[in-house]
Symmetry: C2
Subunit: 100 residues, 2 copies
């Protein structure tokens, strides 16, 4: 599985990305945050890693995962031609509303 969009189809994987958006995380803290078995989380992390969404570094026995930008950019590139069809862009007001 290498296609970014396919990887994002899994809701749990999006929750993982949401967590990592706040801070980088060890596998254990993701297990706590998601209330899910450790093997399940590790499996999702493997998929995310192979698709480039996350990278990991070793810290003692822990593996610390963090977000990587490239697949998100790829998603934007895919989306761009559609956005251009309707001049859909997030303007300042929309951006402000999102942040609340």
């Amino acid at each position: 599985m290498v296609d970014p969009i396919t990887v994002l189809a899994e809701p749990v994987r999006r929750r993982i990305l949401d967590e990592l958006r706040v801070t980088e995380c060890s596998v254990g803290s993701l297990v706590d945050a998601l209330a899910m078995s450790q093997p399940a989380v590790s499996k999702h992390l493997k998929v995310l890693r192979e698709a480039g969404f996350v990278s990991s570094r070793t810290a003692a026995q822990q593996r610390i995962y963090r977000l990587e930008p490239e697949p998100f950019r790829a998603l934007e590139r895919w989306l761009a031609p559609y956005r251009r069809l309707w001049g859909t862009h997030l303007d300042a007001l929309e951006r402000h509303l999102e942040e609340s």
Copy 2:
């Protein structure tokens, strides 16, 4: 299945959207373009329709499908917080390169 990203995970559905990005299409012309059985295409169209990506109007015996913007906007809204992490935006140069 209602989640836009899950709907887009299917490669054939993205090809359908690619076709509809050029012009609105009847089911039959999509069948030709995709070289795929009519029931398969109709099934994908149903999923796309229920997720709001496309709408259809009746013209004689044909059903003409066309793109609808809202789910794409939803995708952008989901993507926005990540984009903000790296200031990832498509600038004029990138936009130009895409068009080639």
